[in-house]
């Protein structure tokens, strides 16, 4: 897998500190670092940090001591880390410093399809754009070398189709970089006050000019045979790999001059000149924003500017084929048949505690407003219990904003219930909670604690007290943080206990509306059913659907458990015993009590 190739590359380069916060498509990078460190007996400090900003700062400081360091995240994680990121370009680094920011054109699992290469350009640091997992691993080494040579952070920008692509990759023994930590104090640099910043900025610009002229970083050239003269295809990343496959499929391999840009920023100066003077027709194929195209700044280019290349979405082989057909004036391929059907939508797992909590919330407050957050529990939108999903940690702040907007109208304000997962709470929910408390918001915050970071593959949260390498850490408890944030209403409940949860929600609503009301926090716990390390689910009870079922479909539509199926023959609901997790929560989801605990049923 591309992420494993990157992780392996980090270990092979003798990196000393690697940090990350999980997020698709980047999550497996740090996990691979752990695996390959163990396999090669390499010593490294490896951490799942609480968020990307912290991850960036920890790794950056390690680099300031002269050691090699790496930080990995998804592209929107870099938004969170943008503050230390932007300044690190000015101040530079000592030991090689690699930033991996994984983009998600499409997007498949992200709030935006933003292009991290643009972010690199904004920060003024070089970015490498791999076209395959193999190349991603090679570029890790190049990034460390460039970073040390020019004392600058270097970004590696893989996309989903690199991160989650699998390919055979050559393995090398890890370099044993035995450097002792040595931080050299230099206040003009590490504490740079505005007075010193312009000089640092001047130094940065000079570095970029030198990097733009570095002969190692020129694009790879795939010459054509002259049949299509003065015409060039310029591409980068996996979109370039797909371009080669499409040309092959169209029997045009080796007919047109092709260039693979490996460093989209700073685009090599000589390349800009040779493209602009050597060709009359140029198309640029890159994901997702026109980074190369803008630096070429040539009006003869057909690409984003001329709308030949779509400005949005993933550049899949069929999209690239359409672009090349128009660019090369070829006869279009026959249009594909009817557009494909939408696939099944994702849903919370059978027995997931989040479903129970959401069911209780939506049933208790049919007219409530429900700001949500990022994680598996975003799927609470299927249950009508998530009204907004914005970015990590936004749910609590949005809840406060909703409250203030309604409360100032004077009329009775709606019940506002924010939901947030345990890992997201640590990531960026804490400042939002402190803020809501101090600003007198009257909202309910439900922290859905499933004892893991489930969506991205079960990374540990700070509460578990386990490090990325599986060693003993020091657990930090959510309840302690909530109390320390000034919350006076705190209740903890087993998420499976819908009745108890409903009672607490009503009590919380009364508290919010009372004379001394404020933020009410409920920690609804239920270990993730997919994570062995999160512990076994509490309740174990088989259920069946009795003869009383009228086929009203309430359980199917409102509860949406994958184990409740429609029994066509009997025209009523049924339980798929193979899929059922035996949590027994659905008993409360039937309006006429036709879902019953099956005493004879197999409880295992």
């Amino acid at each position: 897998m591309g992420n494993e190739a990157i992780g392996r590359g980090i270990v092979e380069c003798g990196c000393s500190v690697a940090t990350s916060y999980p997020g698709t498509p980047a999550s497996e990078i740090l996990e691979s670092v752990v695996t390959f460190c163990k396999e090669t007996d390499s010593r490294m400090h490896i951490e799942w940090s609480v968020n990307e900003k912290v991850a960036y700062e920890v790794a950056l400081a390690a680099s300031c001591t002269g050691k090699r360091a790496a930080v990995a995240m998804k592209q929107v994680g870099l938004n969170v880390a943008s503050d230390p990121f932007m300044r690190s370009a000015y101040l530079g680094v000592k030991g090689g410093f690699l930033l991996v920011s994984a983009d998600d054109p499409g997007p498949h699992s992200s709030q935006t399809e933003q292009d991290s290469r643009f972010f690199a350009m904004f920060a003024k640091i070089p970015v490498l754009d791999p076209s395959s997992p193999r190349e991603a691993k090679e570029m890790v080494r190049l990034a460390f070398e460039l970073s040390e040579e020019y004392e600058i952070p270097v970004m590696l920008r893989p996309t989903t189709r690199i991160c989650h692509a699998r390919q055979a990759v050559p393995l090398l023994d890890p370099e044993r970089v035995a450097r002792a930590a040595r931080f050299e104090k230099d206040p003009k640099r590490w504490c740079a006050t505005p007075r010193f910043v312009t000089d640092l900025h001047r130094g940065l610009t000079a570095k970029l000019v030198r990097i733009g002229a570095d002969p190692r970083l020129v694009p790879a050239f795939f010459p054509g045979d002259g049949t299509v003269p003065r015409t060039a295809i310029v591409g980068s990343g996996v979109a370039f790999a797909h371009t080669l496959d499409v040309l092959d499929e169209m029997e045009l391999s080796g007919k047109v001059d092709c260039y693979q840009v490996k460093v989209p920023y700073p685009l090599p100066t000589e390349f800009i000149e040779s493209i602009n003077s050597g060709y009359d027709r140029i198309v640029v194929i890159e994901e997702t924003y026109p980074v190369i195209e803008m630096q070429l700044a040539n009006r003869r280019i057909v690409g984003r500017g001329s709308k030949l290349v779509p400005n949005e979405g993933e550049l899949t082989p069929e999209v690239i084929r359409g672009v090349l057909v128009k660019f090369l004036d070829l006869a279009p391929a026959p249009a594909p048949a009817a557009s494909p059907a939408p696939g099944a939508r994702p849903t919370l797992c059978a027995g997931c505690g989040h479903r129970a909590a959401y069911y209780a919330i939506s049933q208790t407050f049919p007219r409530g407003i429900f700001p949500g957050d990022i994680g598996c529990y975003t799927l609470g939108m299927n249950l009508g219990a998530v009204d907004t999903v914005h970015c990590m940690g936004a749910g609590i702040s949005q809840a406060a904003g909703f409250y203030h907007a309604y409360a100032q109208d004077g009329a009775e304000f709606p019940t506002v219930v924010a939901t947030i997962g345990d890992s997201t709470f640590f990531h960026s929910g804490i400042p939002a909670l402190v803020n809501a408390v101090s600003q007198n918001a009257r909202i309910i915050v439900v922290i859905l604690d499933n004892a893991t970071t489930a969506m991205t593959g079960h990374q540990p949260t700070p509460q578990l007290g386990t490090t990325a390498s599986g060693e003993q850490g020091r657990p930090v408890f959510i309840r302690d943080i909530v109390r320390a944030s000034g919350v006076s209403f705190l209740r903890e409940v087993d998420a499976y206990d819908v009745q108890a949860m409903t009672g607490i929600l009503r009590e919380a609503d009364r508290y919010c509306r009372g004379g001394d009301g404020g933020v009410a926090v409920i920690i609804a716990s239920s270990p993730c059913v997919l994570a062995a390390e999160a512990g076994a689910p509490q309740a174990v009870q088989a259920v069946r659907i009795s003869e009383e079922c009228t086929g009203c479909r309430e359980c199917l539509d409102m509860f949406e458990c994958p184990a409740i199926v429609w029994d066509e023959g009997a025209s009523r609901a049924g339980i798929s015993q193979g899929a059922c997790n035996r949590c027994g929560v659905c008993v409360s989801a039937c309006p006429i009590q036709a879902i019953v605990i099956d005493q004879e049923g197999d409880p295992a």
Partner: protein
């Protein structure tokens, strides 16, 4: 040798495992191979797709109308991902009954083999038995032996072999 294969299913059905087995088998047979798969939220029961390109290719994605083989772990995904197949493609579907396609009740075969989660391997066995894949069943069996934890090995192999039998 060049072959483009799609594997279509629902999150949780073992699409990723099957992708890996096919890729490892291709490497064991000395072929270049590049694959891609679905991660993230879609894994929670949503429709997921993997692509496998055996032979000299650069990128991992397959364009509509290009795949020579389709393995469908869920018959409902035929209208979702069927357009990736070329007209002469072999479509192998996990279904109790399905007119017009090569189908096998992979879930039943896996349950009989003692591991209901091995329906993916029963479907692979069926496809290998039909002879539509880039290598024969023997190499897949070796790959399964190499990649499966000991605890599941016997039942997984039994499911795979039941698939081969069903293809006869």
């Amino acid at each position: 040798m060049r072959q483009r294969i799609i594997i279509s299913g629902r999150g949780g059905q073992g699409v990723l495992t099957l992708t890996r087995v096919l890729a490892e088998a291709a490497m064991a047979a000395g072929h270049e191979v590049i694959t891609t798969e679905t991660h993230g939220m879609a894994q929670r029961g949503g429709a997921v797709l993997s692509t496998i390109k055996v032979g000299l290719f650069h990128g991992p994605l397959i364009a509509p109308g290009e795949a020579e083989v389709g393995l469908f772990l869920h018959a409902d995904n035929l209208p979702v991902h069927g357009h990736y197949l070329r007209s002469a493609a072999a479509a192998i579907v996990n279904a109790v009954n399905l007119a017009g396609h090569d189908f096998v009740d992979a879930e039943r075969l896996a349950a009989l083999a003692g591991e209901s989660r091995a329906a993916n391997l029963a479907l692979l066995g069926f496809a290998a038995g039909k002879g539509v894949l880039f290598v024969g069943a023997d190499l897949f069996e070796q790959t399964i032996r190499k990649t499966t934890p000991a605890k599941y090995l016997e039942s997984n192999l039994a499911a795979f072999r039941a698939g081969i039998e069903a293809a006869r």
